[in-house]
Amino acid sequence: MSDKVVAELHEPTPAVGDGGPDMIQLLTPEGERLSHPDYDKYVADLTPDDLRSFYRDLVLIRRLDAEGYALQRQGELGLWPSLLGQEAAQVGSGRALKPHDMCFPTYREHGVGFVRGMDPQSSLQLFRGVSQGGWDPRDHNFHLYTIVIGAQTLHATGYAMGVKMDGNVGTGDPERDTAVICYFGDGASAQGDVNEAFVYAASFDAPVVFFCQNNQWAISEPVSKQTRIPLFQRARGFGFPGMRVDGNDVLATYAVTQHCLDEARNGNGPLLIEAFTYRMGAHTTADDPTKYRVSAEVEQWKFRDPIQRLKTYLSREGWADDVFFTGVDEEADSFAAELRQGCITMATPPGETMWDHIYAEEHPVMEAERAAFLAYQASFEEAK
C-alpha cells in the first residue's frame, strides 16, 4: 500500500461530521428538497397528506420520548432510553415497511413501534418494571426489545433465513415477498454477534436489511472508538451493499429503506443502511453526557433537526399552515396525557405471576416454588 493509502486508512473517523459526499439526502437541514437520480422515485407518490402524516408521527414520537424522560425523572419509570434526534431515522424506516415485513428493534425504537401500530404503552412496560417486554411480536410484526447489544441481529438473520425457506422471497407477489429489518447502533457494530449476523446473512442470501442508526455515541464512546471506516462501508467487506443516508431526513430515510427492503424482498439481500444521525440526549436517564462531549457539538446538530426541516418544507410548499401545526401540537398534548395516565395506572402484577411463562410445558420447580411462595404469603395472613 502507498503511504497515502495507509495514511487515509489511519485517518480517524470524525465523531461528528456532515456525513460526507456519500450521504443520501433529499431534504436539507434548511428544508430544501434535493433531487436524487436513484431515490426520487420512492417519494414521488407522496401526497401533501402523506407528508403531513410524517410530520405528525415525528412530533408524536418526540412527545412520547419527552414523556418517557419525564416519567423516569418522576420515579414512574426505572430507566428511559431517549430517541431524541433520531425521530426521522425511525419514522422514515418504519413507514417504509409493509405490515407483513418483520422488524427487530433494539430498546430505543419506540418510534418504529409507534408507526408499526404498537400501543405506545407497550414500550413503557419494560422500563416501568412490570414485564420484561410483554407483547406478542406477531401482533404488529415487531419483535420484543433486545437489551444485550447486537444480539437481535442474529435473530433477524435467522428469521430472514426462515422467510426464504418458506419461499417468500423473489416470487414477484407483493403480498407474499417479505423483508426483515433489523435495528442496531454504532456501538453494536463492534459486537461479535453483529459481525456474525453479517456473515450468516450473506452466506444464506437472507432477505434482511440491517439498519444502523449511527447516533455518533455509544454511551460515552464516540463512533471513532468502534470503527476506522464509515460504518456503511463495512458491508462491502461482507459482500453486500451498504449505503449512508441522512438519518435526520425523513424523506431520504424513507426512500433508501424502501429501496433496500424491495431489494431484500426480491432476493437481493442482505443490505446495510447507515442512518447518519445524532443522539441529542443522554444514552439513558442514567447517563450524563456533559462528562464526555462538548455542548457545541450538540448545538451544531440542533441545526439539523429532523422535525424543523420538514416543517420548513411543508410551510414553504404551502402544504401546511399554523392551524395544522398547532393542531398536531394539541394532539401531542393529549397523546402525552393519555400516555402518562396509562403509565402511572399500569399495575404491578402479583408476585406469584413471576413463575408464569418461564416454560411452555409443565415444570415441577415452577409449580413447587409458586406454591411455596403463596403459602409463605398466606402465613402472614394467618398470623394476623
Binding site: 407483547w135 444485550v148 438473520t157 435467522g158 428469521y159 450468516y200 411463562h357 411452555a360
Partner: protein, 328 residues
C-alpha cells in the same frame, strides 16, 4: 418387534431422521453437519435425504448457530443446533442464557422457543484442550432451559425425538465416548419407554444408591457389578434429566438405601452433585446413614489428555466413593 444392536451414535441419527420425517419444520444447523455428517457423523446421510435447507451447514460461528436458531424458531421452525464440542459452546453462551432461555418469559408466554442444542460432552477420547469438558451445570443453573443427557442407544434414539417435540428449549448432552457403544432395543417400537424428564432406575439394590448421567452410567453399572462380588448391593440410577431434576425418584431410592453417591465428570464444586446432595439432605435427613458422597472431576481445568485417566471418575474411584458412604 425388531430387536437390533445399534450404536448410540446411529441411534441419535435414526432419532433425528424420525423427527425430521414427522415434522417438516424440524431443521438441523451446525458446523460440518451436511456432507460430512458432523465430526461424529451423527447427521450422516441426512442432508442427502432432506436437502441443504433442512440440514444447514453453518458458518464457523457458534453464537450465530444459536442466534439464527432463535430467529428460525420465531418464524415457526424447530431448529436442532449441533455444537461441535463441549468447549466450543461458550461463544454461544449469551444467546443460550440471555435469549433462548428468556424469550418466552419476555413475551409473557406469547412465543415459544422449541430449540434443541446438541452438545457432545465429556472426556476419555484423548483430545486436546476444549474437547473433553462437561459444562452442563452452567445450563442447569439457568431457568428457562431444560437439560438432559442420554447414556445408552435406546434412550439416545427416543430422547432426541422427545427433546425436539418439547416446546421448551432443551440442552441435549451426548456422551461422546459412548457414541460407538452398542445396545439392543426394539427399533420398531412405536412409543418411548419413558418420559424425557424421568430418571431411570437401571439396577436395583439395597445398600447404596449410585446416581449419574451420560458417560459415567456405564462405569457405574460396572462398579455395581464389581461391588456385588464383594457382597455390596448397589442401586444404580441414570438421572437422564438434569433440569428439571427428577428428585422424587432419587429420594425414594435414598429412603430405601440410606446412602447416596453421585458421579459426574464435571468438577464437583457447584456441580450437579452439589445441588442433588443439598436437596437429598433436605428431604432425607433422617433416612441418611452417611453424608452424600460426590465423585466428580477435580476442581481444575480439564487436564492434558495423557493425564485424564487420573481426572475422570473410573470404577475404582466410584467404588472408593461407595466405600466412603458405607464407612459411616
Amino acid at each position: 418387534m425388531a430387536l437390533e444392536k445399534v450404536t448410540l451414535g446411529k441411534s441419535l441419527t435414526s432419532g433425528l431422521r424420525k423427527a425430521m420425517e414427522k415434522d417438516p419444520k424440524v431443521v438441523l444447523i451446525g458446523e460440518d453437519i451436511g456432507k460430512l455428517g458432523g465430526v461424529f457423523r451423527i447427521t450422516e446421510g441426512l442432508q442427502k435425504d432432506f436437502g441443504e435447507e433442512r440440514v444447514i451447514d453453518s458458518p464457523l460461528a457458534e453464537s450465530g448457530i444459536v442466534g439464527t436458531a432463535v430467529g428460525l424458531a420465531l418464524r415457526g421452525y424447530r431448529p436442532v443446533c449441533e455444537i461441535q464440542f463441549d468447549g466450543f459452546v461458550y461463544p454461544a453462551f449469551d444467546q443460550i442464557v440471555s435469549q433462548v432461555a428468556k424469550m418466552r418469559a419476555r413475551s409473557l408466554g406469547a412465543i415459544t422457543m422449541p430449540i434443541v442444542i446438541r452438545i457432545p460432552f465429556g472426556g476419555g477420547i484423548g483430545s486436546p484442550e476444549h474437547h473433553s469438558e462437561s459444562p452442563e451445570a452452567y445450563f442447569a443453573h439457568t431457568a428457562g432451559l431444560r437439560v438432559v443427557s442420554c447414556s445408552n442407544p435406546e434412550d439416545a434414539h427416543w430422547m432426541i425425538q422427545q427433546a425436539i417435540e418439547c416446546d421448551d428449549p432443551v440442552m441435549f448432552f451426548e456422551p461422546k465416548r459412548r457414541y460407538h457403544d452398542r445396545g439392543e432395543y426394539d427399533t420398531a417400537a412405536a412409543e418411548a419407554p419413558r418420559g424425557l424428564f424421568e430418571a431411570n432406575v437401571i439396577r436395583e439394590g439395597t445398600d447404596v444408591t449410585l446416581l449419574g448421567y451420560g458417560p459415567v452410567v456405564k462405569t457405574m453399572l460396572e462398579s455395581a457389578a464389581a461391588a456385588e462380588t464383594e457382597g455390596t448391593s448397589i442401586e444404580v440410577i441414570d438421572l437422564r434429566s438434569l433440569s428439571p431434576l427428577p428428585i422424587d425418584t432419587i429420594v425414594s431410592s435414598v429412603r430405601k438405601t440410606g446412602r447416596l453417591v453421585v458421579v459426574h465428570e464435571a468438577s464437583s464444586f457447584l456441580g450437579m452433585a452439589a445441588e442433588i446432595s443439598s436437596q437429598v439432605t433436605e428431604q432425607c435427613f433422617y433416612e441418611l446413614e452417611a453424608p452424600v458422597v460426590r465423585v466428580g472431576g477435580a476442581n481444575i481445568p480439564y487436564p492434558p489428555s495423557r493425564m485424564e485417566e487420573d481426572f475422570l471418575p473410573d470404577l475404582d474411584r466410584i467404588l472408593d466413593g461407595v466405600d466412603r458412604a458405607l464407612s459411616f
